[in-house]
């Protein structure tokens, strides 16, 4: 069962690598926020998987909970940025669907 969980963990890491492509290349900053949010969810699960591999899940659940919590706060904070400053791209180029601003 342990090797199954390790394989699951490595598969999750691979998926994170693919998501990281969206985070790093994503055309706008909002795409990046979305990518970070998805990575955060995967990480929460990976934390508990690591706990299962160590056979000490009770020690890891608190970290996962705190983690999900702060992921939420970071996402909210990053998205609130756009409520005040409504320019998507920092210099105004590089985005196809850009609005009429700046």
């Amino acid at each position: 069962m342990d090797s199954f969980f390790i394989a699951t963990g490595v598969a999750l890491c691979l998926l994170m690598l693919l998501t990281l492509h969206r985070t790093v290349h994503g055309p706008t900053a909002i795409d990046r926020i979305m990518g970070v949010n998805v990575i955060g969810t995967k990480t929460t699960i990976l934390l508990i998987i690591i706990g299962s591999i160590y056979h000490r899940v009770d020690m890891f659940v608190d970290i996962a909970l705190a983690y999900a919590l702060l992921n939420f706060i970071v996402t909210i904070a990053a998205s609130r940025y756009f409520h005040h400053r409504k320019n998507l791209s920092s210099r105004g180029y590089g985005y196809k669907f850009r609005a009429e601003d700046d």
Binding site: I6, V10, T23, V24, R32, I63, A78, S89
Partner: protein
């Protein structure tokens, strides 16, 4: 440690670090840095450092990313176009970096293998902590017992460093007057945010549970990962969530600046006060075993455990106040009028 996960997470971390440095937009850099901290937390967990992972999850991934976003919010997102004359200095920096890397790589050849249980670092002092912590202090979490008891003096000054950092931020940024001579006008128009009912409702539901969870983390730090630093930061993060989702003023109504600074002082004073209490009772500074004289129905071992709990509470209060203070000062440029 689980080497399969180790290799994959480290590779992801390097990609994140490169992207953070290369990206041409400060907000994106801050966000990718958040992902970097998330992966870092995963790495610590995988190497078995659960307390470090907890701290990284709350401090590194949560609060520092929010601080970066706040700072970018108050300044600008633009990374300037570089001038042509900087090519030489870039080359010099590259050479210096490569030289440093080379020196470290040469030194690395002499390092003991990763995950070898018989390295010098793990043979000399730490076996004592691992063997004796239950016997000495009745605290199963070795990290907590070393942090709060064996190396309590160290931690006290770490708390003092945090406190000093909070004071420094206040000294640099806080502006009490309405108009300030050296203050430039707003960089560009900040549009009024409309209140968002969904976020407000969820935040209102979650905040009590977050605060309860923070208290649990502080109190249960003896038996599971957690403790004063982590609990304090999570408690502070709940106020940050309120300030983000509601109004800045509303949080100031709950926790005014005066109270906040007072709490920071109280936290550090609790820590030092327990130390002085030990001194008064005729033992060394921060030697909690003597507290069994004043605490009812405790022997010396349990007194050490309770003493640790006391200082964890002090640390939590101090860190809570300082995190809130740093965030508020940065997000409102020291004016305490409006934030994110």
């Amino acid at each position: 440690m689980i080497w399969q996960l180790d290799l994959s997470i480290l590779t992801l971390i390097v990609i994140c670090a490169f992207a953070t440095i290369m990206v041409k937009d400060l907000l994106s850099a801050a966000i990718i840095f958040g992902a970097y901290s998330f992966l870092m937390c995963l790495l610590w967990t995988e190497m078995g450092a659960v307390d470090v992972a907890f701290t990284e999850a709350s401090v590194g991934a949560g609060v520092s990313t929010v601080l970066f976003i706040a700072a970018v919010y108050q300044t600008t997102r633009k990374v300037g176009v570089r001038k042509s004359g900087r090519l030489l200095s870039k080359a010099v920096a590259l050479v210096a970096t490569l030289l440093t890397g080379l020196v470290l790589l040469i030194a690395e050849a002499d390092f003991p293998d990763f995950a070898n249980p018989f390295t010098p670092a793990s043979l000399h002092l730490s076996p004592y902590y691992i063997m004796q912590t239950l016997h000495d202090t009745n605290v199963p979490n070795i990290v907590t017992s070393v942090l709060a008891d064996y190396r309590g003096f160290d931690t006290m000054f770490e708390t003092a460093v945090i406190f000093t950092a909070g004071l420094a931020v206040i000294a640099i940024l806080r502006r009490f007057k309405k108009e300030d001579r050296c203050d430039l006008p707003e960089p560009y128009v900040i549009s009024e945010a409309h209140p968002d009912t969904i976020i407000r409702f969820i935040a209102r539901q979650l905040v009590p549970f977050i605060q309860l969870f923070a208290l649990y983390v502080v109190a249960h730090g003896h038996h599971s990962p957690g403790g004063g630093f982590q609990g304090g930061v999570i408690f502070g993060a709940s106020f940050i969530l309120l300030a983000i989702s509601y109004d800045f003023k509303m949080v100031l109504g709950i926790m005014s600046e005066r109270w906040n600074i007072l709490l920071g002082n109280i936290g550090v004073l609790i820590y030092a006060g327990i130390g002085f209490l030990c001194l008064l009772l005729g033992a060394n500074f921060l030697d909690y075993s003597v507290l069994s004289k004043v605490l009812p129905a405790t022997d010396k071992i349990m007194a050490r455990s309770h003493g640790m709990l006391g200082i964890e509470i002090g640390v939590a209060i101090a860190v809570l106040a300082i995190v809130i203070s740093i965030y508020f000062n940065i997000v409102s440029r020291g004016k305490y009028d409006k934030g994110l």
